[in-house]
Amino acid sequence: MVAYFTEIFSGLWSLIVGLSITFKEFFSPTVTVQYPYETLKMPDNFRGHIQLIANEEGTSNCIVCMMCQRACPSGCISVAGKKEEGQKKKTLTTYMLDFTRCSLCGSCVESCNFNAIEYSDEYRLASTKKEDFIIDLLKRLEEKKS
């Protein structure tokens, strides 16, 4: 008989505890981000597809050493460059990334000795066309500059 009543009262008490928790949550601020209207800043460690790093003049640091192209296990990267008149180093003319095959392993970033490529924070990559994933990184860099 005592057990019967203690069960009722302990049950009631647990209900009140539960209600008090949701009551507190009701008055605490919302934490969701309203995605299309608000976006979160990506953390520094986020691995998006690679992008070229701009130097002070806004051009690329790349000297077309081809290390990244060689390091890529999937053959996503194709780099080309030429030696301009009166310049010591080669300058970059095309840097194409085929993101359809990229597995974001990061070998290219690791292999680069000239601080020329980094991970971007791009995560909105949905598309219906395959061509959208073959990315011209040099064009991207110029667009970013302007």
Partner: protein
């Protein structure tokens, strides 16, 4: 008041409008409340604070086709959603919102409302059985056992109140509670029968009205995780819409009844606050109760069917019986 055709028409239209507006905007309140408890904003795109969401949902539901599954019992299938909504609307006719605002006062108001409320269970049974769907049948079996289990303690509690008042007239039940908080049936220390167990009666009635409206934590009839959507699995379009609105209209009825039977209807808690119109007190009380309904729904997980039946047969019925006897004894003594 003369019962002319115009009066009836106005009363019915007002009742339907009140029920429909409440049903629509309680859905909004529920979604906003649930969102706040889960720390998200809830519907906020359509109109300010998402206030246009309910009419848009209604338009969407009305534009959809009502599909009747092959092999379903057509007549019952169509009748069920109407049966879910109609009793709720009819019940509004006899509920007194204040001393003057009542569509038609019956001297057996309590009885009438409970007679209509019991049709809600029938509509669930019809919906589940006529759908020709195993989940729906399971759901209606549960709904019926739940309705039987919870109508008993609810009615015993109502008998307790009716015994104190000596009337089944909702007006008289409220008028008997005039004179402030201590005269209300929830703590009737200054009333005719100073029964200190009345708060428990109130709790029992409240729990039963939660169960009668098939809401969480007693939404065994719907039980999304087990029975798809329960009795309304096969319903689309406004058929589903009517079930949905019926649920909310029933919540309002439950809150109105709780207010009338236990919380002093349209009277202010302290007599000198009586200058505020009664209808405001009444609406304040019912919306406070409805907020509690919503709060409870988003706090507790669903009980099991055994837990549900045990709660009723082992706890609520004996306690309400005991309180009935105690009240009878106190009425005899005082």
């Amino acid at each position: 008041m003369e019962l002319s055709l115009l009066n009836i028409l106005i009363g019915v239209i007002a009742a339907i409008a009140f029920a429909a507006v409440n049903a629509a905007y309680l859905v909004w309140a529920e979604r906003r409340g649930a969102a706040r408890i889960q720390r998200r904003p809830g519907p906020n795109i359509n109109g300010p604070f998402g206030l246009l969401q309910p009419p848009l949902d209604g338009i969407k539901l009305m534009c959809k086709q009502l599909i009747i599954p092959g092999g379903a019992d057509k007549a019952l299938f169509i009748a069920a959603p109407v049966l879910a909504m109609a009793p709720a609307i009819v019940s509004f006719v006899t509920i007194p919102f204040s001393e003057k605002i009542v569509a038609h006062n019956l001297n057996v108001g309590v009885l009438a409302i409970f007679a209509f409320a019991s049709m809600g269970g029938i509509s669930l049974l019809f919906a589940g059985w006529s759908s020709r769907n195993k989940y729906a049948v399971m759901s209606s079996v549960r709904a019926v056992s739940q309705a039987i289990a919870y109508e008993i303690p609810m009615l015993i509690t109502v008998i307790t109140v009716v015994m104190i008042t000596n009337s089944m007239d909702l007006m008289k039940i409220v008028q008997q509670q005039a004179g402030g908080l201590l005269h209300w049936n929830i703590i009737p220390l200054a009333g005719d029968a100073p029964n200190i167990l009345m708060p428990f009666s109130f709790l029992i009635f409240f729990i039963c009205s939660l169960a009668e409206t098939n809401r969480a934590p007693f939404d065994l009839g719907e039980a999304e995780s087990e029975l798809v959507a329960g009795f309304h699995t096969e319903y689309g379009s406004m058929g589903f819409g009517l079930f949905f609105m019926g649920e909310y209209a029933n919540i309002v009825i439950g809150a109105c009844l709780t207010t009338i039977l236990f919380l002093g209807g349209w009277y202010a808690p302290i007599p000198f606050l009586d200058f505020i119109p009664g209808v405001i007190w009444f609406l304040l009380k019912i919306y406070l109760l409805i907020a509690t309904f919503i709060w409870i729904r988003w706090t507790f997980p669903r009980t099991t069917i055994y837990g549900l039946l045990n709660l009723s047969w082992k706890i609520l019925i004996p306690l309400s019986m005991f309180n009935l006897l105690l009240t009878a004894g106190l009425l005899k003594v005082f």
